[in-house]
């Protein structure tokens, strides 16, 4: 693998993921049918997960997709926000890096 190649992320088992969201709330609940675990995510993390359910993405493509949501942040902090969300989703085993 080319070390300069951007890391691409995807949901591990999109067919096993369920979610519940109620209008006006700032959190979303996600069920992972593979592990049986339930997670409380921020709405933004839920939206990132939702996007990764349909397709794989790099940090840059996520930045582009969420440019409206992150318009108030400068580039490095926007990148940090996306990386933190990806790190959170990876730690709970919902997403993985497909370059490896």
């Amino acid at each position: 693998m080319d070390s300069n190649e951007p890391i691409t992320w995807r949901v591990k088992h999109p067919e096993k993921i369920l979610h519940q969201y109620w209008e006006g709330e700032d959190c979303v609940v996600v069920y992972d049918g593979t592990s049986g675990n339930t997670h409380l995510l921020s709405l933004f993390a839920g939206e990132v997960l939702g996007l990764l359910m349909s397709d794989s993405h790099t940090v840059d493509s996520l930045l582009l997709a969420f440019s409206n949501d992150l318009s108030g942040a400068d580039e490095s902090s926007a990148t940090g926000i996306i990386e933190n969300v990806l790190s959170e989703l990876r730690n709970i085993d919902l997403v993985c890096n497909i370059n490896r």
Partner: protein, 305 residues
């Protein structure tokens, strides 16, 4: 026949033979016991419940039996059996009836997976149910006891049974388990209530059970639509505060308090979502029972407006 139709001597005989089948809608429990006081407490607490003929099917076979041995002659102890197998450690015989209640809770929580079983009190008014989940000490049994003495129907003070197919809450309407200071609080709040003698030095402190209201027992097989989830939080000296609580956060709490959430997998996830989605979610901080009941009454009247 109802329990109140039997004399205590008849109940003692039925219990000794293991022929007492108590109808705890939706379950039937066959109870066996050689402890004489058991008949008295069952007669006191389950007076309005029906029995089933001895040859009927029962969901659970439970026994509370005196332990044998010299030590037990000096300090008698009793043990709970489920399907003939000893379950839990022996406890002082004075705790036998409380042990029966705890054992029955365990039977239901560990085996009745056609329901989502939530550690919560449930009360109903006008066909709409309020679910009161909470950690021990949050005041849910006290609040439940207060509410059912002020016009709300008791479904349960401990185990909410959520019918996942029909989105209805059930609860058996069994005796309310009061602990420590809440025993006197309820005695003063509703002096007409019938309670067992307090038993001290249990794992939960001093406990006493309160007889469920007759109307609640008669309606035990009627489910109620979930309408409110209220997390009670007793805080000495606090003004009553009813605060809206996020549904996603409430979901996590309900999932944590559901004994068989993990067993149901995706179905359990959808069921908790259904329950939470149908309910207004609140957190109630209170220090006086009257204030808390007023807050519940306002919730109820608000829903009618």
């Amino acid at each position: 026949m109802k329990i109140s139709d039997y004399s205590e001597n008849e109940l003692v005989g039925l219990l000794k033979r293991g022929d007492l089948l108590l109808d705890l809608k939706p379950f039937v429990v066959r109870i066996c016991s050689d402890i004489a006081d058991m008949a008295h407490d069952i007669s006191l607490m389950y007076a309005d419940f029906y029995t089933r003929p001895v040859e009927s099917f029962s969901d659970f076979h439970v026994s509370v039996m005196r332990e044998s041995g010299v030590f037990n002659w000096i300090k008698p102890r009793a043990r709970f059996f489920f399907d003939g197998r000893p379950s839990f450690i022996p406890l002082p015989e004075s705790q036998a009836f409380a042990m029966l209640e705890w054992g029955l809770n365990w039977c239901v929580a560990a085996h009745s997976h056609h329901y989502l079983i939530i550690h919560a009190a449930v009360v109903e008014r006008g066909g709409r149910a309020a679910l009161l989940p909470g950690q021990p000490g949050a005041g849910k049994s006290t609040l439940c006891a207060g509410l059912i003495n002020r016009g709300w129907r008791l479904l349960s003070d401990e185990l909410a049974l959520f019918d996942m197919e029909n989105s209805l809450l059930f609860g058996m309407s069994r005796p309310v388990n009061l602990k420590n200071a809440s025993i006197n609080v309820i005695k003063q709040f509703a002096p007409e209530t019938v309670m067992t003698l307090p038993v001290s030095d249990t794992t939960k402190g001093t406990v006493a059970l309160m007889r469920p209201p007759r109307d609640s027992v008669q309606l035990a097989s009627c489910g109620a639509r979930p309408a409110w989830i209220v997390l009670p939080n007793y805080s000495a000296g606090s003004q009553p505060i009813m605060k809206e609580q996020g549904r996603a956060e409430t979901f996590m709490l309900i999932a944590e308090q559901a004994f068989n959430y993990d067993i149901h997998g995706a179905k359990g996830f959808m069921a908790v979502g259904d329950l939470v989605g149908r309910s207004q979610c609140h957190r109630l901080t209170y220090s006086h029972l009257d204030d808390a009941i007023l807050a519940f009454d306002e919730l109820h009247s608000g829903s009618e407006r």
